[in-house]
């Protein structure tokens, strides 16, 4: 059992490309830390450095307090689950699971017992003599897990282990991996590009972008208090609506396109930094669930309504996802665009821009009577607005 500590860890590839820059991260014993980010964010490189499969260019990597920068993988006692599972195709399930033990020259009967225990835990007992090609995707995934846990590693590393499974299987295995991880109770680093996976599985989540750590915290914290535009746009599905806006000179209103919203006192108090933004440009963020159909609201207060044209409605049963076009400019910082690109892979259809209008999404009650093509009024939960500095992308709090 060990904690994993990364101190200012950097990786520069021989061609001069930086993959990870000054990464500080600590994973406690038994904790599941999810590294999430778009492709090329350096998350897999970070994981491979912890595994010992990549050299560390600078910085210190500790496991259980011991510096392991130059330790070969086999001496780090890490187990890793790969995206492709990387099962040895010519070996049976039992041989795959027991290979690491065999390399440690463990007596055969002990290997057999351990493999049997692991197989039992993972429901693989009937498949011990099968070859990987005879198994389903979910079973292969379990074999990969078995191969990792049978060694009783002090650190568990997983590189996008669910990305080769279909949607249903993914949800099932997500729960299963969490269950096994808690049972084994070792420090775990889990890499994914899927923010849903990150949110549902992680004790804590580290968001990476362009090799740099953007924010690390509990899923709830990342969702409620994103540190910057990138995290705000990346975490949450559908993604946060981000528009260029301005704070009125009296500091009491936020102007979005031709419309404005009143800033409630509570919000101004909790974000003293906003006072300094009077008369200046900001980026405003509205989570889709903080927009509701005004027709269903009892009596919307003044300055809490935004009007937009409904483009498309996706009924999900428990809610409607209303895609709209609003008279405003979408925040187009590089970070937001990158985050958006990744989020879009997840599903929401990309809407075409019409004139100066920008797209947005609201999650409204299924009782809503909104129709595609109609003009809608949305009540905004202004207490939950997010503000970012358009130059630095940093969230405005203090």
């Amino acid at each position: 059992m060990a904690t994993i500590t990364l101190e200012k860890v950097s990786k520069v590839y021989p061609n001069g490309l930086p993959a990870v820059t000054d990464l500080d991260l600590e994973v406690a014993e038994g904790e599941l830390m999810v590294l999430v980010g778009p492709s090329g964010s350096g998350k897999t490189t970070a994981l491979r450095m912890v595994a010992g499969l990549e050299d560390i260019t600078s910085g210190t990597l500790r496991m259980g307090g011991q510096v392991v920068n130059d330790l070969p993988p086999k001496d780090r006692n890490v187990a890793m689950v790969f995206q492709s599972y990387a099962l040895y195709p010519h070996m049976t399930v039992a041989e795959n699971i027991g290979f690491a033990l065999k390399l440690r020259k463990m007596p055969k009967d002990q290997i057999k017992a351990k493999v049997r225990d692991a197989a039992q835990m993972l429901g693989l007992t009937d498949y011990l003599n099968s070859k990987p090609a005879q198994l389903s995707g979910g079973q292969r995934q379990r074999v990969a897990m078995g191969r990792a846990i049978v060694r009783e590693p002090s650190v568990f590393l997983m590189d996008e282990p669910l990305s080769n499974l279909d949607a249903k299987m993914r949800v099932q295995m997500r729960a299963e991996i969490s269950r096994i991880q808690r049972r084994v109770g070792v420090a775990t680093m889990y890499v994914t590009h899927d923010q849903t996976e990150a949110m549902t599985m992680g004790d804590r989540v580290a968001v990476l972008h362009m090799g740099r750590l953007q924010q690390c915290g509990t899923p709830q914290m990342l969702y409620e208090r994103p540190d910057n535009i990138f995290v705000a746009a990346f975490i949450g599905s559908p993604a946060m609506n981000l528009y260029e806006a301005g704070i009125s000179s009296d500091g009491e209103q936020v102007v979005i396109g031709s419309q404005s919203l009143a800033l409630p006192r509570g919000l101004l108090e909790s974000r003293p930094g906003l006072a300094a933004m009077k008369g200046r440009k900001v980026v405003v963020g509205i989570r889709p669930e903080h927009l509701s159909d005004a027709a269903l609201a009892p009596s919307p207060g003044p300055g809490t309504t935004l009007y937009a044209d409904v483009e498309l409605i996706e009924a999900l049963g428990h809610e409607l996802e209303v895609h709209f076009l609003i008279d405003a400019t979408r925040a187009r910082s590089e970070e937001a665009a990158a985050a958006q690109e990744t989020a879009d892979l997840g599903g929401a259809p990309a809407l075409t821009m019409a004139g100066a209008k920008s797209e947005g999404v609201a999650r409204v009650s299924p009782r809503s009577q909104l129709k595609a093509g109609s003009r809608a009024a949305f009540v905004v939960d202004t207490e939950h607005l997010h503000f970012f500095d358009p130059d630095t992308g940093a969230a405005i709090w203090n």
Partner: protein
């Protein structure tokens, strides 16, 4: 979905390319004709040798191309009963097996390094091996002879086996390198994390996965050195060391009048190589279907 288990790249399997319903086109009769011609050129001489072995020399002299009448078995039985023949077979087997073992062992390791290690000058080194493909063995015979003489390997079967293995290395590496390269890096990473050294990865993962390719190069190497004539001729002059091709030639000189016996001897000298090919070819197909299954 991405491929989740890796299977060795398929060598052309017989059934894979065959469409279920063949369409007749102008090209089809032509390709059949070509196939028949090629088959004829290959098979007719062999069949002629085998069948004529069942005739007497007198029969052959009167009608060179004819069916045996009557069938005579003495040519074959006398060759099979001669101790010289079996001695040659033994020598040939020793040379071919040694050369094959050396080729496969060193060639696969060289291909491993050239495929999966990155080091300066790797491509240049690979090019050197590939130049070997263009290098006619005959050109090397004189320096090779002198070298073997200095090493005291003349009149020694190893003096044939070692150069044969060396001459087989270029195509062995040529065939094996892409095969070893195609094994995904994640498998190697997994083995490394599991605690395997690079050599252990080679032995426990790469070699079993490359069995079809290894079998292919083994067959090629075996047959090349089995059939080698020039090198044994240079190195071996004492009939005690003769390999089968040399033995056949010497038999031919000794019994130059007995054409039928020579043909029987030649036919029998082909049998071991053919047998090896048939056995190994089964294994190629076997490991291919094995790979497809997992």
């Amino acid at each position: 979905m991405a491929a989740t288990t890796w299977a060795p790249p398929a060598l052309p399997a017989r059934s894979a390319a065959a469409p279920k319903r063949r369409r007749w086109s102008l090209g089809t009769p032509f390709s059949y004709m070509t196939a028949f011609v090629v088959m004829g050129i290959t098979l007719v001489p062999i069949l002629y040798v085998v069948i004529s072995g069942f005739r007497t020399s007198a029969q052959i002299n009167t009608a060179p191309v004819a069916w045996p009448h009557p069938w005579v078995f003495t040519n074959y039985t006398s060759v099979l009963k001669s101790s010289a023949f079996w001695h040659y077979v033994g020598n040939s087997l020793f040379v071919a097996l040694t050369a094959t073992a050396l080729t496969v062992a060193t060639g696969s390791l060289a291909a491993f390094a050239l495929a999966r290690y990155s080091f300066k000058g790797r491509e240049a080194l690979f090019a050197v091996f590939m130049v070997g493909l263009l290098f006619p063995a005959g050109v090397a015979s004189l320096p090779l002879y002198l070298w073997l003489k200095n090493l005291g390997l003349l009149e020694n079967l190893m003096g044939v086996a070692l150069p044969e293995a060396a001459f087989s290395l270029p195509y062995t590496i040529f065939i094996l390198r892409p095969f070893l390269r195609a094994v995904p890096g994640e498998l190697e990473d997994a083995a490394v994390v599991d605690g395997a050294s690079r050599l252990r990865f080679f032995r426990s993962i790469l070699v079993p996965l490359s069995r079809p390719a290894l079998t292919t190069v083994a067959i090629l190497s075996f047959i090349t050195s089995w059939n080698a004539y020039l090198l044994p001729l240079l190195v071996l002059s004492n009939p005690i060391h003769y390999t089968l091709p040399l033995g056949t030639a010497s038999f031919q000189t000794t019994y130059s009048q007995d054409t039928a016996a020579i043909l029987a001897f030649a036919a029998l000298s082909m049998v071991p190589a053919l047998a090896f090919f048939v056995l190994a070819e089964r294994r190629i197909v076997g490991s291919l279907t094995g790979a497809l299954r997992g």
